[in-house]
């Protein structure tokens, strides 16, 4: 079975208040996506990908996507579809 957990490269910035904000994602096929807005950040489990982390709900191309920051300092996303 194909894994549903996709680790991605992330461009991020720290605000001067010390807040970590992801700005861009590079998907596994090399395509880059800009994050136009971060809607929320909350600790959450991903049952689908299998893992726990800070879940950033982001707007990419006008759509909501979830990006997880695991405590091994890696970012992952859930593969869409089933």
């Amino acid at each position: 079975m194909e894994t549903q957990k996709v680790y991605v490269d992330v461009m991020a910035e720290f605000t001067k208040e010390g807040i970590l904000l992801p700005r861009g994602i590079t998907w596994e096929d090399g395509r880059k996506y800009e994050i136009t807005r971060v809607v929320s950040k909350k600790r959450a489990a991903s049952m689908k990908a299998g893992g726990v982390g800070d879940k950033y709900v982001c707007i990419v191309d006008g759509r909501e996507v979830s990006l997880f920051y695991e405590d091994n300092n890696m970012w992952f996303m859930e593969r869409s579809g089933n």
Binding site: T3, Q4, M47, G51
Partner: protein
């Protein structure tokens, strides 16, 4: 004092649930977390519900478990991961109360009496905690809501998984009393046998027996059980969170060659003490007791332990006590040693406080601890062997042994120490 509101939260099949979360591909398969069969400690530590339904039980040898459930998937335990989840759960509990008392790493009592005015009643708080654990940690809990610790625990055992059970003043006779006596904390195997012989089968039977009779049969414990069964237990949920959720952290090793001199033993004791101390520091624990286990080349083995004056996670202090214990209890000239273990027991958390004394320097110890943390950091960045004690170079074959992890996670006794 008015009635208290006490919750008991129990993570369902804790280790197996955490593994399930990290292995979505195993969702439909029975899973057990257990020791590595090749490392010879092959027993089931936790089985998930699917495996339990097939007859797999905690404590079974791996081969037995495989007999009752051939398609069982075994996963080696990742204790440090479970401790992390245990900490995250306690962070959630901390939003509701500072009165938390862990019982093992997957169970916790919470006294939320002070929060009910702000957060809603016990049931409401339990619902919130249950939802958050599910959403934020991806595992489920069973919670008991009551006015004392004993009934709260009965409540969390009442219905599993992912359930909330109230055990109020007006309910316990209906819900708790019909339960078998063995469900009560501290009714173990032999007490249960005694009670059965006397025709006492349920918790209600205990409650309605003359306490003096119980005392004559079971000693002091009889009175305690009577108190428990009647909901009169008023032991507090500890305010200061000083107990570690696990009982001990230890490392042991079978050496590549038999140990024949004191110096050989010293090298190994230092290797083990460094590993134990580093793991204590990782988890924010200190130990009050140091234990060594020795096994000679005739496979005769024994353990010795000593309480130390100050809780420690400093490797030099642990190694010194371990070496003293060894010198007092063994003469290497009589028989070579084959395997050695060092263990830190009676663990306390960083919140633990203690009396300073005139004869040891708190300042010195503070410095040592800082130094050890610096060593941890250097090793994290440049590898374990980047920084070594001088003694390790006396015999590099010996000092390169890989210390094997092993934890004891049984909860401490209910009555503390």
């Amino acid at each position: 004092m008015g009635a208290r509101t006490i919750l008991h939260s129990d993570c369902n099949c804790f280790y197996a649930s955490v593994e399930h979360l990290h292995h979505p591909e195993l969702r439909e398969k029975p899973v057990a977390v257990g020791g590595d069969p090749e490392a010879r400690h092959g027993i089931v530590l936790t089985a998930d519900y699917m495996a339990k339904r097939r007859g797999v039980k905690t404590g079974m040898a791996l081969w037995q478990a495989r007999q009752v459930c051939p398609e069982l998937v075994f996963l080696p335990p990742r204790m440090d991961l479970y401790l992390r989840f245990s900490r995250m759960a306690r962070e959630i509990y901390a939003d509701y109360t500072d009165r938390q008392e862990p019982f093992g790493c997957d169970e916790c009592w919470l006294d939320v009496s002070e929060s009910v005015d702000i957060r809603g009643d016990g049931l409401h708080i339990a619902q919130e905690i249950s939802d958050r654990i599910k959403k934020e940690l991806g595992i489920t809990v069973s919670i008991g809501v009551s006015y004392n610790k004993i009934f709260a625990k009965l409540g969390s055992d009442y219905k599993k998984p992912d359930a909330i059970t109230t055990m109020g003043q007006d309910e316990y006779k209906l819900k708790a009393w019909p339960l078998p006596a063995s469900d009560l904390l501290y009714v173990g195997h032999s007490t249960e046998k005694k009670l059965t012989r006397l025709g006492i089968l349920t918790i209600g039977d205990i409650a309605q027996t003359e306490p003096a009779l119980l005392e004559s049969w079971l000693g002091k414990m009889g009175l305690v059980l009577w108190t428990f069964a009647n909901g009169l237990d008023n032991s507090p949920v500890s305010i200061e969170n000083v107990r570690a959720p696990i009982k001990s952290i230890g490392n042991s090793v079978t050496t590549p060659r038999d140990l024949i001199t004191d110096q050989d033993v010293k090298i190994i004791l230092y290797v083990l003490a460094e590993s134990v101390a580093a793991r204590l520091r990782d988890n924010g624990f200190r130990c009050l007791v140091v234990e060594i286990s020795l096994r000679d080349n005739g496979l005769f083995s024994f353990t010795r332990q000593r309480k130390i004056d100050h809780a420690t996670n400093i490797s030099g202090e642990i190694a010194e006590v371990a070496y003293q214990l060894y010198k007092e209890n063994y003469n290497i000239d009589n028989k070579p040693l084959r395997s050695i273990g060092v263990r830190g027991c009676s663990l306390v958390t960083e919140n633990y406080w203690e009396q300073l004394d005139l004869f040891s320097s708190a300042e010195q110890r503070e410095k040592k601890l800082k130094m050890e943390r610096a060593v941890d950091e250097v090793r994290r960045r440049f590898g374990f062997y980047s920084l070594q004690r001088g003694i390790m170079h006396l015999d590099e074959n010996l000092s390169a042994v890989n210390a094997r992890e092993d934890h004891i996670v049984h909860p401490r006794g209910y009555f503390g120490q």
